[in-house]
């Protein structure tokens, strides 16, 4: 058994997997990774099941040290500097951390969350089939809270498998796609236009429960902002009294009493989660068939990830490979150092 010691860590860093389902009827929110595709890619690189638990790393830097043996890791998601000892550790590739070696990650330069997958996964006690942290409900394993310096993740000793890189399609870009409803009839045409035509910014007070939007036109309700509570999903866009929408994320309340003007489609919720505070974004309304086609495409992409694995190129200066490997946005320079 090896351990990955959390040497330093910022806020909003926690163990996450696909989340826990089946108990939303009892008020238990699913939690789980903010960006499931990046979680799956990181896991794929180290040979884990795609939705095995990994470390979701928030926007600030972090460092980890292998103890009691070697640990194989891979990083995906938000672009950030990444080094093992004195050497650059290319993201979107697996790397071996020898006993005592440290992985040092800088702050996210583009995107918000990165996923550090560990070969053999995170050892912990499944709670409703998940290790995902839900601090309010006291759930999550090995720690039912965000990670802190000094925490240790138990894992399997690294295998002798070769390292892997991955060849990914160009990331989806453009406006975040939504389906209007379920309570779009609580808004008139002008209010829906205000929502769809505004450029919004993610507020700095956003978290894993919800992303608050600001800077757009006021989205006015027809009949006030109280409705009888009903169920929510990841991506529900509720409009409270101030007319500035909140997009509900995986730690949301399972029910809510504000009208929901629209819902981010499931294929886009991960890339929405990666938009940093202060960055502008727009929404685009799509029909059900486009949204469900995007969902099927995403399912196919996930299913096909293992077939996209490659042996890493010998040179860590292969800019083409680095660019194609970067789903979070801008190119990653091999010369970047942690900040």
């Amino acid at each position: 058994m090896s351990r990955l010691l959390v040497t330093t860590v910022g806020p909003a860093t926690s163990v996450q997997d696909a989340g826990r389902y089946g108990a939303q009827r009892y008020g238990l929110t699913p939690s789980g990774a903010m960006d499931r595709l990046s979680l799956a890619i990181a896991n794929c690189l180290v040979g884990n099941p795609l939705f095995a638990a990994a470390i979701e790393i928030g926007p600030l830097g972090a460092s980890f040290t292998a103890r009691d043996g070697a640990v194989r890791v891979a990083l995906a998601g938000a672009a950030r500097g990444s080094r093992i000892g004195d050497h650059d550790a290319t993201p979107y590739q697996s790397h071996l951390l020898a006993e005592g070696e440290s992985l040092t990650l800088g702050a996210a330069r583009d995107g918000v969350f990165s996923y550090l997958a560990i070969e053999g996964g995170v050892q912990g006690e499944q709670m409703f089939g998940s290790l995902a942290v839900n601090a309010r409900a006291g759930l999550g394993s090995p720690y039912p809270r965000p990670l802190q310096g000094g925490d240790a993740i138990e894992t399997l000793a690294a295998s002798t498998a070769p390292e892997h890189a991955i060849l990914l399609p160009a990331p989806v870009q453009g406006p975040i796609r939504v389906i209007l409803g379920p309570q779009d009839d609580e808004f008139d045409r002008d209010a829906i236009a205000a929502f769809l035509d505004s450029e919004w910014k993610i507020s700095g007070t956003s978290d894993r429960m919800g992303y608050r939007l600001e800077g757009g036109l006021e989205v006015r309700h027809l009949h006030g902002h109280n409705i009888v509570s009903d169920g929510t999903v990841n991506g529900s866009i509720q409009v409270p009294g101030n007319g500035q929408p909140i997009v509900l994320m995986p730690d949301r309340g399972t029910s809510g009493g504000y009208p929901k003007i629209a819902t981010v489609i499931s294929a886009d919720i991960g890339r929405f989660a990666q938009i940093p505070a202060g960055r502008g974004l727009r929404f685009r309304a799509v029909g059900m068939s486009e949204a469900q086609a995007a969902a099927r495409d995403m399912a196919k992409l996930l299913e096909g990830l293992p077939s996209r694995l490659r042996r890493p190129t010998d040179s860590s200066f292969d800019v083409d490979a680095l660019q194609s490997a970067n789903v979070a946005g801008s190119a990653i320079s091999a010369f970047d150092v942690p900040t």
Partner: protein, 243 residues
């Protein structure tokens, strides 16, 4: 020929969930139809449905769009929801102890004064009703009860409290409820129960089901402390009434 019921509204909640809405208001008959549809779907599952979440007035149906598309599922849900007959809701009956007032229910006296009654009268009315768990939501175990006596209906507080105690029993509008975990609340705090509606290392983890019948009865602060201690160690301090 079986009679058909009025159709619910089928509303998309994104591409992987459908809201089946029976009413826009808090409405006992609508809640009964929500729970009936929930039971029907549990007894005769439709492939592709991953999870259902009953609320006062609607049933949220999560599904996998790779298995079933919106139109197909919407059609099946409409057919199920309009079928005549009440599924056996198999409701259990619970008696749940509550200590009212004092440090455990800091709004009891204010609420009684506002409603023009004595605190004892308020407690008598609050424990005199037959409640049903209309929904569980927001945070784990937060159980919304329907059946509040109309004489104790109070608008919610102007500004919510950021933190209220685990086990709080409160009223807000036409609703009353059992809050399991500590957290924010805009309701008026009448008392506390030692009963944990959610406790992870206990069997069952979740005590109440939507549709269960609930009556409340008063206990004093000393009894509360004793049962709270027992509940902390995993004892179910609510009583299941034999049917």
């Amino acid at each position: 020929m079986a009679a058909t019921l009025s159709p619910p509204r089928i509303l998309p909640s994104g591409d992987a969930a459908i809201t089946v809405e029976f009413s826009r208001k808090i409405d006992d008959e609508a809640n009964r139809r929500v729970l009936t549809l929930d039971r029907v779907l549990a007894d005769r599952p439709i492939a592709g449905i991953t999870e259902t979440v009953p609320t006062y007035r609607s049933l949220l149906v999560h599904y996998d769009p790779a298995v079933i598309d919106f139109d197909t599922l919407a059609g099946k849900l409409l057919a199920c929801a309009q079928r005549e007959g009440r599924a056996d809701l198999r409701a259990r009956r619970w008696r749940i102890p509550v200590t009212y007032g004092g440090e455990h229910g800091i709004d009891l006296e204010d609420v009684a004064r506002t409603l023009g009654m004595t605190p004892d009268r308020l407690i008598a009315l609050h424990t005199g009703s037959a409640y049903r768990v209309a929904m569980i939501g927001f945070t784990p175990g937060w159980s919304y009860l329907s059946g509040l006596d109309p004489a104790i209906v109070m608008p919610r507080r102007q500004s919510p409290r950021l933190s209220t105690l685990a086990g709080t029993i409160s009223v807000g509008g036409v609703q009353t409820g059992i809050q399991c975990l500590s957290g924010p609340s805009g309701w008026h705090l009448l008392g506390r129960t030692p009963v944990r509606t959610y406790q992870f290392r206990r069997d069952p983890v979740f005590l109440l089901e939507p549709g269960d019948a609930v009556t409340l009865y008063p206990i004093d602060a000393r009894e509360f402390a004793e049962r709270d201690e027992a509940a902390e160690h995993g004892e179910i301090v609510a009583e299941l009434v034999p049917s």
